[in-house]
Symmetry: C2
Subunit: 420 residues, 2 copies
């Protein structure tokens, strides 16, 4: 029989009792932020659950990890704490358990309607790294910018390529994104273009939230890397292609990316994703030993991007992809990140890079979908080469279980014009 909750959960909800993703929220605008888990159309306030003494397992009983403004302390505790919390919460929320179900005053305090809450960044992000782990994305970028001979650089098949991103400008889903100003490539002998970006794009990514970190100088073994990953979120790595193209040689993307990066509020744990594990693609050439994992897996997470064009009523789906397309797994990404001794800290974010699938309908950004503006997309009544002011971009992602979904909710943002 399928596990079910006394909280009503629609069959198309992303948040059944099988999921229980973690976030940080304010029940009222004036409240302090606190951790919660999503269940149906409610948020379970973990500070209330903890204060009621309901985390009674050995790891969490005396911990104040749910009386914090963010999830950093909890995610830093590691897998034993995560397992214990999951067991406790699945029991507490199950249809057959009276503790919360039959205590109406506690239930009133602990279960807050999702429509009423404000979601915040779930963790303080010390460092944010963005990988480049989809082969289809790497290939398309190479074809667009360097042509058909060797579109993928030779290092790509040996290294989970990545760059350091900007942590300060990571924002929560729903935050407006201001179109960045910057320099673009000069035409002929004139000075560079300067002004609002003319090639504003989204990048459909997911990101791993680091749990326990590692000490400086002590790499994490690839076969233990999953114990350092708490869960995943959706991520939109907004990108100004004109700024990026002009600035990125030789030190990589900088202002073309750092004006904003949006993440979804709910961290879906690897434990909740485990039933949806799928084999990672075979690698040829074989990776170096430090990247060779005993079990190399992705997750079957269907991803979808919709755009609501400025001034229109309807949203249009512009792409459908899947997390399982990643060439380099998140555990390989994490092991590579630390192989030089670099230390990760709880709450650090590791973006996967744009997740493109093999077919044109599964490309993960407008650069690929419109082939750098050469093939405009039609969206209902409008067409787009890149994003226009007022456009809203909405990501969603979920895994399909037997009779339930394990989903991520949405990750959205609307483009505001550059202020003059």
């Amino acid at each position: 029989m399928v596990l079910s909750s006394f909280v009503e959960v629609h069959p198309d909800s992303h948040f059944p009792i099988q999921n229980l993703p973690y976030g940080v929220f304010k029940p009222e605008p004036s409240s302090e932020p606190r951790p919660g888990v999503a269940i149906g159309e409610y948020v379970l306030d973990l500070s209330v659950v903890a204060s009621a003494g309901l985390f009674d397992g050995p790891v969490l009983k005396n911990s104040d990890c749910f009386n914090q403004l963010n999830l950093n302390k909890f995610v830093g505790l590691g897998r034993p704490a995560w397992k214990e919390a999951r067991v406790t919460l699945q029991k507490l929320l199950s249809a057959t358990e009276p503790t919360l179900r039959d205590n109406s005053s506690l239930r009133q305090k602990a279960l807050v309607p999702m429509v009423k809450v404000q979601m915040l960044l779930p963790v303080v992000i010390g460092d944010y790294t963005d990988f480049f782990a989809s082969m289809h994305h790497a290939k398309n970028c190479g074809l667009i910018f360097r042509g058909p001979e060797n579109p993928i650089n030779p290092n790509w098949f040996h290294i989970p390529i990545a760059y350091h991103g900007r942590a300060s400008s990571i924002v929560i889903s729903g935050t407006d994104i201001i179109r960045p100003r910057g320099q673009g490539h000069p035409a002929g002998t004139s000075p560079p273009y300067f002004g609002p970006s003319r090639k504003l794009d989204f990048e459909m990514e997911m990101a791993a939230v680091v749990g326990p970190g590692n000490e400086l100088g002590k790499p994490v073994d690839v076969n233990e890397a999953a114990d350092h990953i708490f869960g995943l979120v959706l991520m939109n790595d907004w990108s100004a292609r004109d700024i990026q193209a002009w600035e990125y040689v030789p030190l990589g993307p900088f202002l073309g990316k750092s004006f904003g990066t949006t993440i979804s509020p709910w961290i879906v744990t690897l434990d909740a994703l485990e039933p949806f594990a799928s084999d990672a693609p075979k690698k040829n050439p074989p990776p170096l030993p430090y990247l060779a994992e005993k079990i190399s897996k992705n997750y079957d997470i269907s991803l979808q991007v919709s755009v609501k064009p400025a001034g229109e009523e309807d949203t249009c789906i512009v792409t459908r992809s899947n997390f399982k397309h990643l060439y380099w797994t998140i555990t390989q990404q994490l092991a590579h990140h630390t192989i030089n001794g670099c230390n990760l800290r709880p709450g650090d974010l590791l973006g996967t890079g744009t997740i493109s699938g093999p077919e044109p309908e599964s490309y993960g950004c407008l650069l690929e979908l419109t082939w750098n503006g050469q093939k405009p997309l039609s969206l209902g009544g409008s067409t787009r080469k890149f994003l226009e002011d007022g456009d809203e971009v909405i990501f969603t992602g979920c895994c399909k279980g037997e009779g339930y979904l394990v989903g991520f909710g949405t990750c959205s943002g609307k483009i505001l014009p550059t202020p003059s």
Copy 2:
């Protein structure tokens, strides 16, 4: 008459009353970290000064900014607070002021011998950015890696080029650096090299510590950028050239840099550096209007790198350069960083990039000094292409005033072998 302190200051000290750089220290191994300023061979404990009610100006009187574990709150208060603290401390420490001079019990508590203290990172660094602002360095890198035709990329003369660095692995002077392991370029058709870096280098840089930040979406005007910079430190951006060369296309340096970055403990304020301001180099082509500053200045800071080779008694000076060689000023760097709306936060670090001068004796890293290992350096009895295990690298920097120095102390680190 030159301002002088009742605290004895040797003429060759970096820390006379004209300097008063800020740091964070522990007087005893078991004490809490607290802010201090350096004066001669002492550290003045600012938590003691504050508790004694001696910060009596309007901005600092009721502030707890010196009862913090780091300087983030103080640097975030901005120039009025910095000016007030400087006036208060120069008066308190002056030869003619009895308050501290004649109160032996307070003096005992407030002035801690520098040899006894442990210095810590002065700020919590949210994000660290590394620029590439020396034309001589950019030119030499281009000559070494791309040859004599157009060694400097065309974008370099329009953009203060930079990349996001890794904040978690920034360490305080004196911390050992573990040689990173990583991949290097494959030879022929064999797989990539994997093992301890064979081309470990230092990069002599300085870094600006951000004071008040800016909101996401609100760029800082280049002519107001100095109000967002609290001061400067010395910085060693340790670099593994073999790892960097193989990984950096197309997203820039990653593991070749993120294994460690060392900063000096004392932040010398722009106010203390002001007497040493010097005109920045003329720019041709002229910068875009957002980078054109009314007064474009560097500082005349003599920089020097010494190496103490493993197993030897003596240190050898390997290069002498000067901060005044930078093409892009720190205010241009900061304005550029925010032009896309990227938000800076108090305590963020902006590295200048390697500061090379025009002559071969003034190059800022071994890559340039040995021309990528082609011309080994002789150091006393040894020679070096790159750093060997056990080598210690010591940076120092100072400005020469009339009868006094305004210095940065040292920024040092020793290479430990890769653990097996």
